[in-house]
């Protein structure tokens, strides 16, 4: 029993040690840098695991990238500098916001094109329908005559 207690105490001690280590690791000089770090680990994509950011992933490379981001932010590097550093090594893939290049232009342009086409279609149809409903004085006259005719018929019957 004593041995068990001792083992538990040791374990608890170890656990608190490692918890402290983690807290120390993510200490920042000011809140602005902490914010930059948090944004970066959300925005940078893990190159190994495809659809996780580096904050979420347990891959070795994600940890390495996190550590590097941490170092760079501590050194006072700006957000864009860190992103450029990563793109230089891992390609545009590593950032979740793709830049406008010939390969990605379709992603930026497609929604606009679809919107314009859709509105164009609606307006086009509206005009066509409006044209069909046009009502001329001759039509008015014809209608009046028809009404008169039917009224006469009703009276005679």
């Amino acid at each position: 029993m004593k041995k068990l207690m001792l083992a538990l105490a040791l374990l608890a001690g170890l656990w608190s040690l490692s918890a402290n280590a983690v807290e120390d690791k993510y200490q920042f000089k000011n809140a602005e840098r902490e914010q930059t770090f948090k944004e970066l680990v959300q925005e940078l994509r893990c190159p190994k695991c495809q659809n996780q950011n580096i904050a979420d992933s347990d891959a070795v490379v994600a940890k390495d990238l996190r550590d590097r981001v941490l170092d760079m932010v501590r050194e006072g590097k700006s957000k864009q500098e860190v992103i450029d550093f990563m793109i230089d090594r891992y390609g545009y893939f590593v950032h979740y916001q793709p830049p406008v290049t010939p390969a990605t232009i379709v992603l930026w342009v497609m929604p606009v094109v679809i919107l314009v086409l859709g509105f164009g279609f609606i307006v086009f149809r509206q005009k066509k329908a409006a044209r069909k409903q046009s009502w001329s004085p001759e039509d008015e006259q014809k209608l009046a005559e028809l009404i008169k005719q039917s009224q006469r018929k009703e009276r005679t019957s």
Binding site: R89, G91, M110, L117
Partner: protein, 190 residues
């Protein structure tokens, strides 16, 4: 005529979209994630895997075309490709290993044992084939990060001026060699 054409526009957009999405579905996303092509090897100074007194720098590698193969004994695919890489070495391809260690992590105390690692590597190479001229030990994976390595195995083809020509993710097998590396090496030879 005009109306018929207008009717076809949605179909046309649909087909274009299909082609675009199809490419995304069947393209290899790992092919995209390379930022270092066409640049020179990043500067480094790292120890030899077998002898920490011996240190290698980027300058030592210049002068000859070579493959830089990122590997580790913890990685099954790396072990699987050792045999074929050894064949390539016998055909005269210069292959340098970049040892990508996963066990070593300063965050969790220094429990890493270099002697154990060396024995492990020697046994592995004796069993599966030894394609390497020498191995560089990248304990903190700094060179790997500078090269844009995301895991192992990955292989770089570097020309004699230190320019990175190819970055291949995954194993090297006869098919990959024929379709990717052999033509690139052919182009480098005058």
């Amino acid at each position: 005529m005009n109306k018929k054409f207008l009717g076809l526009v949605p179909l046309l957009i649909f087909v274009l979209l299909c082609v675009f999405l199809y490419q995304g579905l069947f393209g290899n996303p790992r092919e995209l994630q390379t930022g270092r092509l066409g640049q020179t090897m990043p500067a480094f100074e790292l120890p030899d895997l077998m002898d920490e007194q011996k240190r290698w720098t980027d300058q030592d590698l210049l002068g000859e075309v070579y493959l830089l193969n990122v590997w580790g004994t913890w990685c099954p695919t790396c072990i699987a490709e050792l045999g074929y890489l050894t064949e390539l070495r016998e055909q005269g391809v210069r292959i340098i290993g970049l040892y990508y260690e996963q066990a070593y992590d300063p965050d969790f105390g220094d429990q890493f044992d270099i002697n154990y690692l060396r024995t492990d590597v020697q046994q592995m190479l004796a069993r599966a084939g030894d394609p390497y001229q020498f191995n560089i030990l990248d304990l903190e994976r700094t060179l790997a990060l500078d090269l844009g390595v995301s895991g192992a195995p990955e292989t770089f083809l570097v020309d004699k001026n230190g320019k990175i020509i190819l970055h291949h993710t995954g194993d090297i097998n006869p098919r990959v060699w024929r379709s990717k590396f052999a033509p690139a090496i052919q182009e480098l030879q005058p």
